[in-house]
């Protein structure tokens, strides 16, 4: 008997534990189903607006559908064989025109106020230019002369289901945008090729990146942390593969990060003077090719027939060094090939040399390398 009672008792506690775990999990999952509250005052205001409108809609829905479902239930032909004959009432029509109108005004007032705050486009403490490319983002810190690209780091094998997917699948990049907390950061958003859109849900910022336009958005992040976002305007093949990752840190950490980036830029400039061997350039070039070129020209340099030309066996890549440099520096007018002039001299030389040495191009062509000095020379001649 006691055994049975004990058993029931254990069941009870287990049940309570399970129920509790379930409900907390449910509420966690519920958060994952709704808009984020985010990490800024603005994002919380937007969330509140969203919930306000949501509950107003729910209330209207309950009322309207309530009457409708009641009619469907109470006025079936069985219960009400003869229909009423009323079919118009100007008073009722006026009432249900004016009441919704008043509700709408109640919605529009707070929405307009929030919008006004968001549209404050005064300069920030820190101003970062964001440039969308097919399919990566470039960040330029305008005051500190820091400049880098952020590429997706998720492995192709993860995407093609050959290995298990990591925790931040499709939401991880090689360089995060670092910003300090508590400071007004303004983003100046534009694009180099097609339209992209820069979205970080935690900041309630979504601004289209449009070639020829500079759109602004600002934020003051309160808590240090990593905030992930995505490109939200269809921008071609890899639209789903150009995430945004922002890391908010304390001011001192931010300062040392800036110093580090500046030192690295100086070191890179010094490398330009060095005499390079083909092997050194190819080694550097391969990684650059993977992040910058593979999406179109493919790993095997074959491109995609009819859209992106092959580099393997290309006459220009094999034998026409000058034109090769020119294409990389200026892009091709009227085609998807953009200028890559933002690459450093070393990077530019490495990636060109890589394409000239790979896929049998060295054997079939002149096999010459392009050195960083050649790029410096090109830039001089152009001026």
């Amino acid at each position: 008997m006691t055994n049975v009672r004990n058993l029931i008792c254990t069941f009870k506690t287990q049940f309570i534990v399970i129920a509790f775990a379930l409900s907390s999990q449910l509420s966690a999952e519920w958060d994952a189903l709704n808009m984020t509250k985010g990490a800024t005052e603005i994002s919380r205001e937007v969330y509140d607006l969203h919930m306000l409108i949501f509950w107003i809609c729910v209330a209207i829905g309950v009322l309207v559908f309530g009457v409708m479902f009641y009619s469907m239930y109470a006025y079936t032909k069985k219960k009400n064989p003869v229909a009423a004959t009323f079919h118009e009432s100007t008073k009722v029509e006026i009432a249900w025109t004016i009441i919704p109108f008043l509700i709408l005004i109640a919605m529009a007032v707070p929405a307009s106020k929030t919008l006004q705050t968001m549209y404050n486009d005064e300069a920030g403490d820190i101003n970062i230019q964001v440039v969308g490319y097919q399919w990566k983002w470039q960040y330029r810190y305008l005051e500190d002369d820091v400049n880098f690209f952020a590429n997706l780091t998720t492995d192709l094998d993860e995407i093609y289901n050959k290995v298990p997917k990591g925790e931040n699948y499709l939401e991880e990049v090689d360089e995060m945008v670092v910003i300090p907390v508590g400071k007004k950061v303004r983003f100046l958003i534009t694009a180099n090729d097609v339209i992209h859109s820069w979205w970080v849900p935690a900041f309630a910022i979504k601004q289209d990146a449009i070639p020829g336009f500079i759109n602004t958005a600002w934020t003051i992040v309160e808590e240090p942390g990593i905030y992930r976002g995505k490109c939200t305007e269809l921008c071609g093949k890899n639209h789903g593969f150009m995430p945004i990752v922002v890391k908010a840190v304390e001011q001192n950490e931010y300062d040392s990060w800036i110093a580090e980036k500046q030192a690295a830029a100086i070191a890179m400039a010094e490398l330009t003077e060095k005499d390079w061997t083909a092997e050194e350039l190819v080694a550097r070039g391969e990684a650059l090719y993977t992040t910058n070129c593979v999406a179109c020209h493919q790993v095997n340099g074959q491109g995609i027939t009819g859209i992106f030309p092959a580099l393997a066996g290309s006459e220009i890549v094999m034998n026409d060094k000058a034109r090769n440099i020119e294409i990389l520096m200026e892009g091709v007018q009227g085609a998807a090939m953009n200028s890559f002039s933002y690459l450093s001299e070393v990077e530019m030389a490495s990636v060109i040399t890589y394409t000239r040495q790979s896929w049998g191009n060295a054997q079939n062509g002149d096999g010459e390398i392009v050195a960083p000095k050649d790029i410096v020379e090109y830039k001089k001649n152009k001026i």
């Binding site: 009423a84 079919h87 307009s112 919008l115 549209y119 090729d193 339209i195 939200t232 921008c235 093949k237």
Partner: protein
Amino acid sequence: MSAVIENHHNEHDHHGPAKGLKRWFYTTNHKDIGTLYLWFSFAMFLIGGAMAMIIRAELFQPGMQIVEPEFYNQMITLHGLIMIFGGVMPAFVGLANWLVPMMIGAPDMALPRMNNLSFWILPFAFFVLLSSLFMEGGAPNFGWTFYAPLSTTYAPPSTTFFIFSVHIMGASSIMGSINVIVTIMNMRAPGMGLMKMPLFVWSWLITAYLLIAVMPVLAGAVTMMLMDIHFGTSFFNAAGGGDPVLFQHIFWFFGHPEVYIMILPAFGIVSHIIETFSRKQLFGYSSMVWAMLSIAILSFVVWAHHMFTVGMPLAAELFFMWSTMLIAVPTGVKVFNWIATMFKGSITFETPMLFACAFVVLFTLGGFSGLMLAITPADFQYHDTYFVVAHFHYVLVPGAIFSIMAAVYYWIPKWTGNMYDERLGRLHFWLSFIGVNVTFFPQHFIGLAGMPRRVPDYALQFADWNMVSTAGAFLFGFSQVFFLFIVVKTVMGGKQATDQVWEGARGLEWTVDSPAPYHTFSVPPKVS
């Protein structure tokens, strides 16, 4: 009126349809052309649906499984274009062809030869569009909204064919609209004043004006693209001094009225069905007409709510937010009128009524999410996410498409003379109803949680609901093959329908025989 019907019985014997295929190629009969439009749109609906299945299958799990991103983008583009221009619009034109002359007591459409032409150029338009799938570089891959410069400088070579096919579709729509307007304005039976017209006729009159107003704008947009691609202009190319945002303004000036082109006829259909099965006169006829007119006029001043994130000035954002919210007022009036019609009615739930009730609830749900999207600051979070996908599929699938299905069940006894199988019809309704909600309701969640639209792959937190959505999509997809079966079965045979068909049905089309003779109302009826 019986005298009228006698009259065309005699005529029927020596003036029937031509034999064989010629009947369909040469026909100038509004009923034949209506049938052609309806079958064509059904075929396009199934092709566009197959593309949706490919899209949902790829999204079943995170990771790339069955297609490459390049092809995925072609699928979303063609799915959108085919469903809008090939599915919903021709279906409504087909219904207009069948019903407008019969509802106003006219013998045929006013311009029968143009009617033939406006249909027969459509298959060519879609042949051109679909053939681009087999061209070098693939089909258009820039989304049905084809934003420049993705659709110009960066587009595949097949874009030129896409432009050509859009031109043909536009020409077809404009001819169809002119025909509808001329018919309604000139061929109403004596005594049928404008404010006595059936609401479906009213809804189509307004729709036709919208089409004539905006189709040329779309034609202008694609022509400017053509110039940019082939003739060295820079309308949308920033590097040449052009403006990519200009494209979006032009596109959505067409695009927003286009949205109402796809829903106004649905308003007309649903009004008739609710009235019939509630056995009670429609509540607030004149306010329904005014509501549709207000919606149509407002549709010209709200376009930029599709573009809240392009960086417009504050004043513009506020204007488009307020004007968009205003649309909720006339739309609300319509919903209230439908419910007031049902209130104290004597209701039965045959298949058309089931679809109409689902339309009222689910279209309103899509309206609510539309209202949320109008709130600009919140739109910054919703824009271009699955929340938007959920929103417009709610107004287009259980909205426009449910209304078309309701119309088919409602009028098919008149068209074929046979009753459809009520049990199968109800089964089809419930499968579609469950399928559509399982597909699109979870998309609200994944959108709010942060999943962008038009991506072939997604982060892991969106996996569960995507799986549910795909399951719903396949249920919905297969239910439509079942619909095809029901329609074919009804065309082949079934219980003989009476002339009135439905106990509560009112209107001229229910006074002619079932099936409706090849020629109706050769002598106009008198409308009191």
